[in-house]
């Protein structure tokens, strides 16, 4: 009988009177990858915080290698060999890779930092992860995937025996994800225990050995084998059976709303892209990371410059020099990074709704009551769970996204571009976003949806434009499109 490295017994956590974790118990063994699943708010991050020492439980106990384990802070957990790798990478871009790996724990010799040793040992860890970059180069300019691996190297340099990976693939493309998995498997073979948090079902089935599902702070299910249908997993997460994830799509109207011809990016992110979107049609844009999807839709929305080509709205050629130009013509974008591009998270929900509509108030007094009336209307129309004066940071990802969408829809746009509309949003809330997207199409809006989630693009699009390395690889009709045909084009 093998011993678990970490075991949790009856862990509970309350913030004030609000319970966020209720009596959670499980074991983690050396050399296994365990998925920790749950909707946002299910308690995953609280639980990983407790394991990694950034929070302490209200009740319950943990043991680590047979010894009682109650880390008071992350440093104590790291000393024991438990390292949490956050979703947002925490590297210092202007320092070298080696320095990042040993930050705070620089190897010393004669009272000074022993750079030679630091570089050598960092290089060893990089080699262990099959990452062939010089440890002396600075982090700035490295791809997200490489940065992710450096974070892992950092953990390995600390002799981590348990890694907690919080959505490690959120910003990675298909090939990069595969490379990361290879390293995860290698670490598993070396006997490192791994807790893997992700929203992507396919990945979880691929990489993890066991699945622990949390719902409303409780462990609702433990699957001893990850080879079970996605539907079963999702159903246990949301606690109800899913009839269908995607609403049925309306028939596009005959009128062409948006026409893009031979559009080429000023920064060479994409070349000669041509397509059109009808009123009431949803065009999906698929492709690997770096294919130029985001850049393409940013250019259409006036956020990035174009070198050549044209964008026609309703048959009229537009000169888009800034987002303001596009917005004035009725093209609006829900950007990929909600917290950095979509919302001022520290400001109120009402404020955020107003920011996108300031021109409507240009000649009027923006009294508190006018602002509140405007915000309340938007909040009610889109089912946002919150009040106008609450800061946007209080909201869950799904509700934040609804605010970003709502701020635009108050303007009755003609074209709505959504870049990664459900990134970081839990499965239950995604359905709400899909409903909004499809309802837009029903109202005759031309909709463009960019997504790395293949299932999502396939589910909500009438047609799919596939980009590969900045080139237009093809446009697939709903009938032609499936995961194989899209991936074939994307990897051209």
């Amino acid at each position: 009988m093998r011993e678990p490295v970490l075991s949790l017994k009856g862990i509970s956590k309350r913030y004030g009177p609000v319970p966020v974790l209720k009596d959670v118990s499980f074991d983690i063994y050396a050399g296994e990858v365990v998925a920790l699943l749950g909707e946002n708010g299910a308690g995953k991050s609280t639980l990983s915080g407790i394991i990694a020492g950034s929070r302490s439980p209200s009740e319950g106990s943990m043991t680590w290698l047979g010894q009682p384990y109650a880390p008071a802070n992350p440093a104590e957990a790291i000393d024991k060999g438990v390292v949490l790798i956050h979703q947002e990478l925490q590297l210092l871009p202007e320092l070298s890779v080696a320095e990042n790996v040993f930050i705070g724990r620089w190897p010393m010799k004669n009272g000074v930092v022993d750079r030679a040793q630091m570089v050598r040992r960092a290089q060893e860890q990089l080699a262990r992860l099959n990452l062939h970059i010089p440890a002396t180069r600075k982090v700035a300019g490295l791809s997200t995937a490489h940065q992710q691996l450096i974070e892992i190297a950092k953990a390995l340099a600390l002799n981590a025996r348990l890694l907690i990976l919080d959505e490690p693939t959120a910003a990675l493309g298909g090939a990069e994800t595969e490379a990361l998995f290879e390293q995860v498997r290698k670490l598993r073979a070396e006997g490192v225990g791994i807790i893997y948090i992700s929203h992507r079902m396919e990945e979880i089935r691929k990489i993890t050995d066991r699945i622990i599902v949390l719902r409303d702070g409780e462990k609702v299910q433990e699957f001893a084998d990850s080879a079970i249908p996605v539907r079963t997993i999702v159903e246990s997460m949301v606690g109800r059976s899913l009839e269908r994830m995607f609403p049925s799509l309306p028939e596009p109207q005959p009128k062409t709303m948006l026409e893009v011809e031979k559009l080429t990016s000023a920064e060479d992110a994409f070349r000669d892209v041509s397509f059109s979107v009808k009123a009431g049609e949803i065009l999906g844009i698929a492709g690997l990371v770096g294919a130029g999807r985001t850049e393409l839709v940013r250019a259409i929305s006036g956020a990035d410059p174009v070198a050549s080509g044209s964008v026609k709205l309703d048959g009229e050629v537009l000169a888009l020099k800034s987002p303001a130009d596009a917005i004035a013509r009725g093209i609006v974008m829900v950007p990929e990074d909600r917290k950095e591009q979509g919302l001022v998270v520290a400001h109120g929900i009402g404020e955020n709704l107003v920011y996108a509509n300031l021109d409507r108030f240009a000649s009027r007094w923006l009294t508190p009551s006018a602002k509140r009336a405007f915000a309340d209307k938007a909040i009610a129309a889109f089912g946002v769970k919150g009040r106008g004066e609450q800061p946007a940071s209080d909201l869950s990802g799904g509700n934040q996204q609804k605010v970003v969408i709502a701020k635009w829809l108050m303007r009755d746009p003609k074209v709505v571009v959504l870049d990664e509309p459900t990134r970081g949003i839990d499965v239950g809330a995604r359905a709400g976003i899909y409903d909004i997207i499809v309802n837009l199409a029903r109202r005759g809006v031309a909709v463009i949806v960019v997504s790395s989630d293949l299932e999502e693009v396939l589910g909500v699009s009438n047609r799919i434009l596939v980009l590969a390395q900045g080139n237009q690889a093809g446009i697939l009709s709903r009938e032609e499109a499936n995961d194989v045909s899209v991936m074939e084009l994307a990897t051209l």
């Binding site: 929305s301 956020a303 800034s322 987002p323 303001a324 596009a326 917005i327 004035a328 974008m333 950007p335 950095e340 591009q341 979509g342 919302l343 001022v344 998270v345 520290a346 400001h347 404020e351 107003v354 920011y355 996108a356 300031l358 021109d359 409507r360 108030f361 240009a362 009027r364 007094w365 923006l366 009294t367 508190p368 509140r372 009040r387 004066e389 701020k407």
Partner: protein, 326 residues
């Protein structure tokens, strides 16, 4: 029904305090300071002294409004002290050397300060020079130009009506300059709270990219803010000229630091997007009352500097701690 009732109560209780958002700590500090000085001195608590304080804070008050705008959009302006000197020297030269009416001098002074603000705004937006550097450069350049105008000499002797702006108490209370400061404060408050253009400052300071993607012309807002700040510094220079009945190119030396201090004490965040005029008014009053009170207590000006330093740290530290607890 009951749910609605609760919501409305919350809504109703909010606005009366909202202008002070983030500045309740400084307000308590200000009240405490006034209480202490009322007990410690015989002279502090009098109408006369109150009016004196108002007279003493006019220059700082007007400059701090412009600085609030700049700091709200996440910028900084180190040039306000020099721009103040430039504005007053241009005014003095126009009126006393070129012999034009003083009114024209005032307009020229304001135009000169607007031009320096425009230059800073262009440097920050078009050439992406960090605001700290652009305004540091302007701080030096504007001071240089102010000195060049008279080769470092002061200009004295303006029409009586000009001096009386800072002396004559209308309705037995307010001088024209104090009245001007109050108007600037009220207009700026209304602009920030109630106008779409004012809210743009909060959006830009909160997150530039969000603001740009929301269709706000970030460059235009930024330039306008630096022009506005410089013009208010120029206006403060004219007020100072009226108070001193003279203009000299060394005026306003170090004022940028007092101004930034007042804004920061008032709870406006140096990272932008949070704060407002209500807090700045309290910050200005704290500095004004502190200076006045310490003078009444015969504290040496050197120790006063130390005390103001301590107050800045206490005010900002207390606010940060309070926010964390919440």
């Amino acid at each position: 029904m009951s749910v609605l009732g609760i919501n409305e109560q919350k809504h109703a209780s909010k606005p009366s305090w909202s202008w002070l958002r983030g500045a309740t700590g400084p307000l308590i500090g200000l009240i405490g300071l006034c209480l202490f000085l009322s007990l410690a001195t015989d002279t502090f608590l009098s109408t006369r002294n109150g009016l004196n304080i108002l007279d003493q804070i006019t220059v700082l008050g007007i400059m701090s409004v412009g600085m609030t705008f700049v700091i709200l959009i996440g910028g900084i302006d180190l040039s306000v002290g020099s721009v103040l000197a430039l504005s007053m020297m241009v005014m003095g030269w126009t009126a006393n050397v070129a012999g034009l009416p003083l009114g024209v001098g005032i307009v020229f002074g304001l135009a000169a300060s607007a031009a320096s603000g425009l230059l800073v705004g262009l440097m920050v937006t078009m050439f992406r020079v960090p605001a700290f550097i652009a305004t540091l450069a302007m701080m030096s350049a504007a001071r240089g130009v102010a000195n060049m105008i008279t080769d470092g000499q002061q200009i004295v002797g303006f029409p009586d009506w000009f001096m009386m702006l800072a002396i004559d108490r209308h309705f037995g209370a307010l001088t024209a300059t104090v009245f001007l400061m109050l108007v600037v404060l009220v207009v700026a408050w209304a602009f920030l709270q109630l106008r779409a253009e004012g809210r743009m400052l909060y959006a830009v300071g909160g997150n530039q990219e969000v603001a740009r993607l929301a269709g706000i012309n970030v460059a235009r807002v930024t330039i306008a803010v630096y022009v506005c700040c410089a013009m208010l510094a120029g206006l403060a220079g004219i007020v100072l000229a009226a108070r001193l009945d003279s203009v000299q190119p060394s005026s306003g030396f170090g004022y940028e630091l007092d101004t930034i201090a007042a804004v920061v004490i008032g709870g406006t965040s140096l990272s932008g997007g949070a704060g407002g005029i209500g807090g700045t008014l309290i910050g200005v009053l704290i500095i004004g009352v502190l200076r006045n009170g310490l003078n009444l207590l015969n504290v040496s000006p050197f120790i006063q500097q130390v005390i103001i330093g301590v107050v800045i740290v206490l005010a900002v530290g207390a606010e940060t701690v309070r926010r964390k607890r919440r």
